[in-house]
Symmetry: C2
Subunit: 240 residues, 2 copies
DNA sequence: AACACAGTTGCGGGTTCCCGCAACTGTGTT
DNA sequence: AACACAGTTGCGGGAACCCGCAACTGTGTT
């Protein structure tokens, strides 16, 4: 059995390699890629079906790489190993896991035992393992002000600079509906007029919504860059 | 001589500690803080004058912590040790270094020799050391499309959601001047109407400027959150 | 002194955004 | 069947934004 590690931090990669050798004696060969692009290449060349993947990497992030890998070999089992529990990352992953496969999400701050356990459970037993701390975050946001899928889509488009009209076209909504989604976004993201002693001050809701969303970890730079690529593809497709 | 390490990643902290012991035999005690806030506290309690600091940490980032430390003991020498070479971080640091002090900026991907050298040069010899790779980035952006200080200030305010009128008030400019700064921002950040086959599509320049700035690493979530705190302070001050 | 050039300011108007009001759908509850 | 409730759509108007045109300041160059 071959295992592919995709991780651009050398310290973390070393640690990971040791943990994998300890937890998975059935692994005969450990490959190591330094970014997402290289990870895709090696997975393809060696027909890898077991991957441990970091999320934030320069060049190409883990989610985009996972998408490509799963598109080529949907049965591939991927354990994500990352620092943060951003909603943006979670949403990205849950969206692309194929039915035939399993995946896991472990924080880098987890103990060695937790990591070892997740390695075996996900890569050998094909179970789905999500760190407890993540589930908590996922539920926190889900109960009190989660974004709907359509709200999320509008948020992304808006952040990329699309006008209401264009968003309507891309999302297949009417103009007014887009604006309604925006209204609820402003509400959920806590975009209010700034409070000042004499009276409230008018603000630009769009831009404030973006920084609020960044601050709440509903989006991040990676997800925006990835969405920008999708947008460009859509533009070329829909213009022809 | 006492040395304070501020670093929330345990692998990196271990490595750093080893490097410091090797490069700086004159150090008698190594303290370790896990985030910016704790770093400030320990620096205060032990009257630390030599610090190695990570930039991105949860809770409180390295730049804010450095600001507090330098406000209390300006002669403190700080070596920043970080993953990225974001323009946002660089701008933040250059802005707050006191004259009496020295600082350095080393990438985590640098070799052990480079790190050791920087440790001695900055913390003992009070020299200023900036990683070569950083200077390159700094120059790249400075030659072809750097943001002026006033442009940067307007960009931040705009990203926080201020209206043109409010930005004018905060920056002491006229309305039209703010708009001129915005125009040059749109230009420098590459905010253009989207190109599509038939004709160009109108976009929302403000929001697109933000994502472009994020993508070009002119700003990042940290710097926005930090700026948000400044804004709140300004609001309370100016309303009373 | 003459000139270039970058930055500041006012004016005016076309476009987009923000959102209240109101009507209509669909899903689920009692 | 009656009802609540969340989501969709149109209309219309006030506010904010985007920006061309034009004039004025200041700094530095020749």
């Amino acid at each position: 059995m071959k295992l592919l590690l995709v991780e651009d931090d050398k310290f973390h990669a070393d640690y990971l390699k040791k943990a994998a050798m300890e937890a998975l004696p059935e692994v005969t060969e450990i490959l190591h890629a330094l970014d997402g692009r290289e990870g895709e290449k090696q997975a393809r060349r060696h027909s890898i079906t077991a991957v441990v993947m970091d999320l934030q990497m320069k060049e190409r992030n883990g989610i985009d790489a996972a998408r490509t890998i799963w598109a080529e070999r949907p049965q591939t089992r991927i354990l994500f190993w990352s620092n943060y529990s951003d909603e943006a990352y979670l949403r990205g992953i849950a969206r692309i896991v194929p039915d035939e496969s399993s995946y896991g999400y472990v924080l880098k701050t987890a103990t060695r035992e937790r990591l070892n356990l997740a390695l075996r459970a996900v890569l050998l037993e094909a179970q789905i393992v999500v760190d407890q701390q993540i589930h908590k975050v996922q539920h926190q946001t889900r109960t009190h002000d989660t974004l709907t899928d359509s709200e999320y889509a509008v948020l992304i488009d808006m952040s990329l600079g699309l006008s209401d009209k264009l968003i309507a076209k891309r999302q297949g909504m009417s103009l007014r509906t887009v604006q309604n989604r925006l209204l609820s976004l402003y509400d959920k993201l806590g975009v209010d007029s700034l409070e000042s002693s004499p009276d409230d001050i008018a603000i630009n809701k769009r831009t404030r919504a973006i920084t609020r969303a960044l601050s709440l970890r509903a989006i991040n730079t990676e997800s925006l860059e990835s969405a920008e690529r999708d947008l460009q593809r859509w533009l070329h497709r829909s213009s022809s």
